[in-house]
C-alpha cells in the first residue's frame, strides 16, 4: 500500500546516500575520515535511538551509556569466548540491550516519568559496578580487543569495514524512526507524550507502547555499542560508560529537534563534527563543556530545536 511504497523508497534513498558517503570517504584517501566518520555515525545511531523513547514518548533516558556499554561488553565477552563476525555481534548487542531495556521498563514505567529517568541514571552506575567487578571482561583494568587481520569476504581495511557497518546501522536507525513516525505506533507515542491520561482514555495501551519504545531504543543503542571494542582496541569501563554518551544522546536530539527523525540526524551531524574539531584543536574537556552549555541553552531558548525553528511544532503525519 501507499505507505509501504513510500517507506521502501525512503530506505532506498538512504542506501543510495550511504553508498555515496562511503565512496566519497574512500576517495579522500585518508584513514582519518573513517575514524572520525565512525564517531559521527555512532552519534547518529545513539541520538536517533534516544529520540525514539525520549522525543516521541517523552520519557527521558539518562543511561544511554548503559545500553551502549552492554553491547560493547557483550562483544568483549564473545571475543574471549568464541570469536564471532561483527554483524552477529551487532545482533547479540541488540538482543542484550533490548532485553535490559524491556526489563527496566517493566519495573519502572508504571511510575512517573521522573522515576524512570532516575532509574536509568542509576542503571548506568550499577552496570558499571558489575562490569568493574567482572574480571573475565577485564574488570577495571580493561580488556584488549585485537582486530582481526582480515575482513571476511571483502577486501577492505578493517576500519573501513567498521565504518560501513556503522553506516548500515545509521540507515537502519533512521529508517526505523521514520517508519514509526508515520505509523499507528507513532500516533500512539505522540499521545503518550502529549497527555498520557487522555491517551489511555482513547484506548491507547500506554504501558505496552512505552515498553516497545524502551526495548527498541535500548536495542539500537546496543547495536551501536557492539563494534566499539574493535574500533577502539582497548576497552575500559570508564570509556564505555562515559557520561558523554548520555549527554550527547540527549543534547543532539534536543538541539536538532525531537519531534522527527530529522532532528537527531541534524543534531548529530552538527554536534558530532563540532566535537571532532574542538577535541582536536582545544581539548576534550572544553569540548564537553560546550556540549553541556549548548544543551542547557537550547533547552531554555529553543525547546523544539533547530527543526522546530524552521517549522512549527507539528507531527509530520499524513496530510
Amino acid at each position: 500500500m501507499n505507505s509501504a511504497i513510500r517507506s521502501g523508497r525512503f530506505a532506498l534513498a538512504c542506501i543510495l546516500v550511504a553508498a555515496v558517503v562511503f565512496a566519497g570517504a574512500r576517495a579522500v584517501g585518508n584513514d582519518y575520515v573513517f575514524f572520525a566518520g565512525y564517531t559521527v555515525l555512532q552519534f547518529i545511531v545513539l541520538a536517533t535511538a534516544w529520540n525514539i523513547l525520549g522525543g516521541y514518548t517523552g520519557y527521558v533516558n539518562f543511561g544511554t551509556a548503559a545500553f551502549f556499554a552492554l553491547g560493547a561488553y557483550a562483544t568483549v565477552f564473545f571475543h574471549k569466548f568464541y570469536p564471532l563476525p561483527v554483524p552477529v555481534l551487532v545482533a547479540i548487542g541488540a538482543a542484550v540491550s533490548g532485553l535490559v531495556g524491556l526489563g527496566m521498563g517493566y519495573l519502572t514505567l508504571r511510575l512517573r516519568g521522573a522515576f524512570f529517568a532516575i532509574a536509568t541514571l542509576a542503571l548506568a552506575v550499577v552496570l558499571q559496578t558489575l562490569v568493574v567487578n567482572w574480571n573475565y571482561v577485564g574488570g577495571s583494568r580493561g580488556a584488549y580487543v585485537i582486530r582481526p587481520a582480515e575482513v571476511p569476504g571483502l577486501s577492505l581495511p578493517y576500519i573501513q569495514y567498521l565504518f560501513l557497518i556503522m553506516l548500515a546501522l545509521a540507515v537502519i536507525a533512521i529508517a526505523t524512526a521514520r517508519s514509526i513516525e508515520r505509523s499507528k505506533l507513532g500516533y500512539g507515542f505522540a499521545t503518550i507524550r502529549d497527555d498520557e491520561l487522555a491517551a489511555e482514555a482513547s484506548g491507547v495501551p500506554t504501558l505496552r507502547l512505552k515498553l516497545i519504545a524502551t526495548t527498541l531504543s535500548g536495542a539500537l543503542m546496543g547495536m551501536a555499542g557492539a563494534p566499539f571494542p574493535y574500533y577502539i582496541g582497548y576497552l575500559q569501563p570508564s570509556s564505555a560508560f562515559a557520561l558523554e554518551y548520555a549527554v550527547n544522546s540527549i543534547a543532539m536530539p534536543m538541539i536538532g529537534g525531537t519531534t522527527s527523525w530529522i532532528g537527531p540526524l541534524v543534531g548529530a551531524l552538527l554536534m558530532g563534527t563540532l566535537q571532532q574539531v574542538t577535541t582536536v584543536t582545544i581539548s576534550s574537556a572544553v569540548n564537553l563543556l560546550i556540549v553541556g552549555l549548548l544543551l542547557v541553552g537550547f533547552v531554555i531558548i529553543a525547546p523544539n530545536g533547530l527543526v522546530g525553528l524552521v517549522r512549527p511544532r507539528l507531527r509530520s503525519g499524513r496530510p
Binding site: 539518562f62 521522573a114 532509574a119 541514571l121 557520561l243 542547557v296
Partner: protein
C-alpha cells in the same frame, strides 16, 4: 563470605552504617526539599555537593579554615546560586507549562557542566582537606568511632533538626510545606508562591554546601563522584517517603547500614549497586515509602 561473624565485626558494621547514614541524610535533605516538597527533579544536586566539597577544599588549603566553617561561610553563595537557578527554571519551564522532559534535560545539563568545569579547574586527582580531627580515631569499648565520620554525622543531625524546626515552626517554613499542597490557598494567605518556592529551592542548594564539607572530611573527592550519589539520594528519598525529613533520616540510616554490611562482607566495590537495588525494590513494592501516606 568466609568472615568470622564475630560480635565485634557486626557491631562495627552497624555503627559505621549509622554514621554513614547520618552523612547520607545531609546529602539527601536538599532533594527531600526540592523533589519531595517542590516536585522539582533536581538531579544536579550531587554536583552541587561536590562543588561544596571543592570550595571547602580551597578555603581549607589557602586559608587553613576548618572545612565545616568554610562551608558555613559559603552558605550565602550557594543560597544565591539556588535562587538564581530556580528563577531560571521557573521562567523557562514551570511558567510555560513545558513537559517534564525539558526540566530534566536542564538539570542534567547543569550536572554535566558543573562536573566538567570542576575537571577543567582542578583536574581529576583526588583532593582532601586537613583538619585536626580527621585522622583521629575514637573508641568506645570495641566500637570504632572515627572522628572523621562522627563529626559530619553529628553536624548533619544538627542541620536536619534545624531544618525541621524551620519547616514546622516558622511562617516561611510552614508556607513552604503548604506550597506543595495548595498554591491558591497560599496566595489567599498573602504569600507569593513563587517566592516561597524560590526560598525553598535556595535552601536545598545551600544544604549542598554543608554536605560537601562533610563529604570531603569523610573521604577524598574527585569531580565525577557526584554520579554515585544520584542513586543513593533518590533511593533514600523514596524509601523515607517524599518530603518527610524524619523519613529522610530513617531512610538514610537504613541505606547506610545496608551499604556498610555489603562493604564489610562483600567488598566496597559493590556499594553503588546497593542503592539502586534498594531503589528498585522500594519502587516496586512500596512507592510511597516507609513513612509515606
Amino acid at each position: 563470605m568466609g568472615e568470622l561473624l564475630s560480635y565485634d565485626l557486626l557491631l562495627n558494621a552497624v555503627m559505621a552504617g549509622l554514621l554513614l547514614g547520618g552523612f547520607y541524610a545531609a546529602v539527601t535533605v536538599g532533594i527531600s526539599i526540592s523533589f519531595g516538597i517542590l516536585d522539582i527533579v533536581n538531579i544536579a544536586h550531587p554536583a552541587f555537593i561536590i562543588l561544596g566539597s571543592y570550595i571547602a577544599y580551597i578555603l581549607n588549603a589557602q586559608l587553613g579554615l576548618d572545612p565545616i566553617a568554610a562551608s558555613i561561610i559559603a552558605l550565602p553563595v550557594f543560597y544565591g546560586l539556588g535562587a538564581a537557578i530556580y528563577q531560571t527554571y521557573y521562567l523557562s519551564f514551570e511558567k510555560r507549562g513545558q513537559d517534564p522532559l525539558r526540566g530534566l534535560a536542564f538539570f542534567f545539563g547543569i550536572l554535566f557542566i558543573t562536573e566538567v568545569a570542576l575537571v577543567l579547574e582542578f583536574g581529576v586527582d583526588y583532593r582532601y582537606v586537613q583538619a585536626g580531627y580527621i585522622d583521629q580515631p575514637w573508641h568506645i569499648g570495641i566500637v570504632d568511632l572515627p572522628l572523621r565520620m562522627l563529626v559530619p554525622c553529628l553536624m548533619s543531625l544538627v542541620m536536619l533538626a534545624a531544618l525541621q524546626l524551620f519547616l514546622t515552626r516558622t511562617f516561611t517554613g510552614r508556607a513552604i510545606m503548604a506550597v506543595a499542597q495548595d498554591q491558591l490557598a497560599l496566595q489567599l494567605m498573602a504569600a507569593n508562591p513563587i517566592r516561597i518556592k524560590r526560598i525553598a529551592f535556595a535552601i536545598s542548594i545551600a544544604t549542598a554546601s554543608l554536605a560537601g564539607a562533610f563529604l570531603i572530611i569523610i573521604q577524598p573527592v574527585e569531580p565525577s563522584m557526584g554520579r554515585d550519589y544520584i542513586g543513593r539520594v533518590f533511593a533514600i528519598c523514596v524509601l523515607g517517603g517524599l518530603g518527610s525529613l524524619p523519613g529522610t533520616l530513617i531512610g538514610a540510616m537504613l541505606l547506610g547500614i545496608v551499604e556498610s554490611f555489603t562493604a564489610t562482607f562483600y567488598g566496597p566495590s559493590w556499594a553503588p549497586a546497593v542503592s539502586f537495588g534498594l531503589l528498585l525494590l522500594t519502587l516496586a513494592v512500596r512507592p510511597m515509602g516507609l513513612l509515606g501516606r
